[in-house]
């Protein structure tokens, strides 16, 4: 990795995430084709889960991308999650960096099929494409914390199926609610994902031309004007949302992450998706937020490297023995689990310093 220092940073990293079977791989296949048509070289990292019991894995994402198998401008590498739970594998970030350094213009990173909480992709990707499909649940699922918060571009795939429009409506109402809450509640200094997203949207509406890819987006009177930064009461908010239920949809388009309908199988909507990703990239760059986002990712990577080192140290003979002894002590009631963890951590950090 040392040899790659200073060679990267040019590629745009696109994360593609969503539940199992939502069509991520097929969508990637079509994205590759669309990007290739524009003359870009495309690297792909496709992560599938490892067995928690044997450590083995079936890596089947590549199967959907075989139309590019002999294209020299496309490099596809399958990765097994190898015990990591955030939707990626330990090596994903390093592999993305290698593809970047090798001169690929775009790196698509397809996560494992995710549930509600696998959000590691947001720490790696410059643009996160969140893939939903009809039939997975109601609007309460959509406002839950976790994976629904990380999308920069929302896709409703399999849009030829019943219920696609409902998913679009639910996503839209979730994003509108989030935007309204953000405008009024989140102080910029608090480091939350919502805060960062808020900064991002602020950058978006400020960036000239961003969102212009969507013809028909109307800047509504007064809707994009900054509002006084104060907490709204629930009544005020409810009133605001109801009152603007119809106008908000149109007026706020430029401020909301795009929601697109696709049918990956036929390629329908994929051109629009590429446009949306490119627009997001342009917006990040114009607002100077790309660097902030990448810094955050590097910070997260360093932290996880440290965590892995500690866990690796536990796997070693001496660490394992100490862990066993402490676990037995906890079971026997001689020690509590916090004290045991403290002792183990102290021993590990001492070991790390030598």
């Amino acid at each position: 990795m040392r040899a790659l220092r200073g060679r990267g940073g040019r590629a745009h990293l696109i994360g593609v995430t969503g539940p199992p079977g939502s069509g991520k791989s097929t969508l990637c296949d079509k994205l590759i084709a669309a990007l290739r048509k524009r003359g870009a070289r495309v690297g792909v990292l496709a992560v599938d889960p490892s067995s928690p019991f044997t450590g083995g894995a079936i890596l089947g994402d590549r199967l959907r991308m075989q139309s590019h198998a002999t294209d020299e401008g496309v490099f596809i590498r399958s990765l097994a999650s190898r015990g990591r739970l955030g939707g990626l594998s330990r090596a994903t970030q390093a592999a993305a960096r290698a593809l970047d350094a090798a001169g690929y213009d775009f790196v698509l990173i397809e996560t494992v099929g995710v549930g509600q909480s696998e959000v590691d992709i947001v720490k790696i990707a410059d643009t996160v494409v969140l893939v939903s499909v009809p039939g997975l649940g109601d609007d309460i699922q959509v406002i839950k914390a976790g994976v629904m918060e990380i999308g920069d571009v929302f896709v409703v795939n399999k849009a030829d199926r019943d219920g696609a429009d409902r998913v679009v409506r639910e996503l839209r109402s979730m994003l509108e609610m989030a935007a309204t809450l953000r405008r009024n509640a989140v102080p910029a200094s608090v480091d939350t994902l919502a805060g960062r997203t808020s900064a991002l949207s602020a950058g978006k509406s400020g960036a000239a031309g961003f969102g212009a890819a969507k013809p028909g987006a109307v800047s509504g009177p007064g809707m994009t004007a900054p509002r006084p930064a104060r907490e709204w009461s629930a009544e005020e908010l409810a009133h605001h949302l109801t009152e603007n239920a119809n106008s908000v949809t149109v007026a706020n388009d430029a401020e909301l992450p795009p929601i697109l309908k696709t049918v990956a199988e036929t390629g329908e909507g994929v051109e629009e998706l590429v446009e949306a990703v490119l627009a997001h990239r342009a917006g990040l760059a114009a607002a100077g937020l790309l660097e902030a986002r990448r810094l955050e990712g590097i910070r997260a990577e360093m932290r996880s490297l440290i965590a892995f080192r500690l866990l690796d140290a536990l796997e070693g003979g001496e660490g394992r023995a100490r862990e066993d002894a402490l676990a037995k002590a906890v079971l026997a009631g001689e020690e509590d689990v916090y004290g045991a963890a403290e002792a183990l951590f102290a021993a590990l950090s001492k070991g790390g310093r030598t």
Binding site: S51, A57, I58, L59, R62, L63, Q66, A69, T70, S78
Partner: protein, 132 residues
Amino acid sequence: MDRKIRVLVAKPGLDGHDRGAKVIARALRDDGMEVIYTGLRQTPEQIVQAAIQEDVDVVALSILSGAHNHLFPRVTELLKEKGAEDVLVIGGGVIPEADYGFLMSKGIAAVFGPGTPTKATIDFIREHVRQK
């Protein structure tokens, strides 16, 4: 951490039956290997490109169409061309025993016919990959 053995299970040729390939893939998975499955009707070019990009230790070819004497050697040839002749190539499917010798002379390390216990394939892979 143990280095994982990575295996590409590929189906060259035009037959549409991948039950056997999937059973093998599953068996190797259950033995702790990482298996890349690329689906039906692959050309030797596609298989070799995938083997290189995926940096696999083993390419396991399954074929039922009878074109093994043409397609298997093409895979080993292309691997050699790309400087990847260290990849272990094994075959399976419906292959007459009379052809085993020819295939082995073309760099196929072993051929596993119908009825081979999956354990035999696993053991062969473990033994021969480790030699490297």
